[in-house]
Subunit: 194 residues, 3 copies
């Protein structure tokens, strides 16, 4: 009887050992999942449309040049790859690449042309979204070397349905017409979702 | 005696089991708390005060218009909801809503009026704090649709006592006098504290 | 025999107890490591060089004043500690403090002088890096009180080899010549590496 009880206790100990290890394993793997997996926990593809003010399109323009280097003006993007221009924008966001599709939000902020020997901009802006699925804001920061087919910028935070989210957004120039209209596709991949 | 010892070992095993489960539970819950719980790990309520330069208040002004759309100037906020104005600021931060309370830091950065059909701004700024409890900086990014009672922006990082912190700040317009003075309350909720 | 087995089971129980505690300790400490340890998971020391346009150095200038307060111009930094000046830059990054060393990337973005009673700037910029070891971008935000020996700003995100990274960068003014050239050392410490 005593031997049987002791044997039982040994079985229980091994069972307990197994649980201990599986518990510590699952704890490690869940930490891995929440912090390190390179698979988005949320994913959105959106488009936004920028019509820059050129002195004659006040009704349609969604952005305006508000700063320029010495000698330049505020209705024509500056020479030398627009180096030194800051544009402020409030651009419609759509689910497809049609400017006239019903907007699901606004892209608001600024772009700064910051290079003299190629087209490149620094972006600080926010997506204010009201889609069927999501209400909230997404905040972006990053460099946008326009001549590259794809450009990655950082998603530095979010609010509402994007509370505390972080991720990476891949920009592509989907259309570019003269120097008045451009359309970007924004492939939003959240890797930290809360 | 043997039975008693075996019984004791069983009791210990159950006690151990309990601890194992409570341990794995607490490990899960602490992971939950640090990454997913929507309860702040640190909380501050602060106010900041902005007096914009209008050409006649150089001594008191804490901010200045430094960029404007075509046709506007730098001492009067632009037409059309100030679309295109960039203001740079170094505003005192106080613990209550009194402009004359001893400042506990400075709010430094810029706001950009970026909408033509309502009052809305994009914010990029830093709180440089020296309170009794905290020394450090907090960095903010986000959209501020001024006509909403509350607006959430992202806390994208911090230094010093706010080392690596992230969170969300809720802005409220606490006072608004003409177009020269405004006061915001900033409800700072950190959800990632390190 | 029964007593011996029971004694063995007690030893196992204590062994198990020890493992349980060490497991929960290591789980806590691994969580500490991934989230709380103040030891960088990646570390870079870099320099960048800013030559501001003054009306006569177009060929060499890497930055330009693009916004200024009322009464100031775009070729001379404004009075009162340059309050209200925004400069856009595309500055070479080097591995040492020599302006003529082969650049390993570009620092692109803006600085905003935002204080009237001392030299201080708000920074929003990106390191676009192509070193031997790393390809990718690092995004920065923060206050830069220039008169302090060291200043900490936030690393709010990254892409490429810096995918989803966060951290803190310590800036030091490594050189300052008149108001045309300055060089900063940037001690980049990532605490969240993915």
């Amino acid at each position: 009887m005593a031997r049987a009880t002791a044997a039982t206790s040994l079985v229980l100990i091994f069972f307990l050992s197994f649980m201990l290890f599986s518990s510590s394993f699952s704890s490690a793997s869940s930490s891995w999942k929440s912090k390190k997996h390179h698979k988005p926990c949320k994913h959105l593809l959106l488009f936004f449309h920028d019509i820059i003010y050129n002195g004659r399109n006040a009704a349609n323009a969604t952005s305006a040049i508000v700063a320029a280097p010495q000698g330049a003006n505020l209705t024509i993007l500056a020479d030398k790859f627009h180096f030194g221009n800051i544009a402020v924008f409030d651009d419609p966001i759509t689910l497809d690449n049609n400017l006239h599709s019903p907007p699901v939000g606004r892209a608001q902020g600024m772009y700064i042309y910051d290079t003299k020997n190629t087209f490149s901009a620094w972006l600080g802006f926010t997506f204010v979204l009201k889609t069927k699925d999501y209400q909230g804001t997404i905040n972006f920061n990053g460099a946008d070397p326009l001549m590259n087919k794809t450009r990655d910028i950082s998603i530095v935070g979010g609010t509402g349905d994007f509370f505390m989210h972080r991720g990476v957004a891949t920009l592509m120039t989907d259309s570019f017409e003269g120097e008045v209209y451009f359309r970007l596709s924004v492939d939003i991949k959240f890797y930290e979702c809360w």
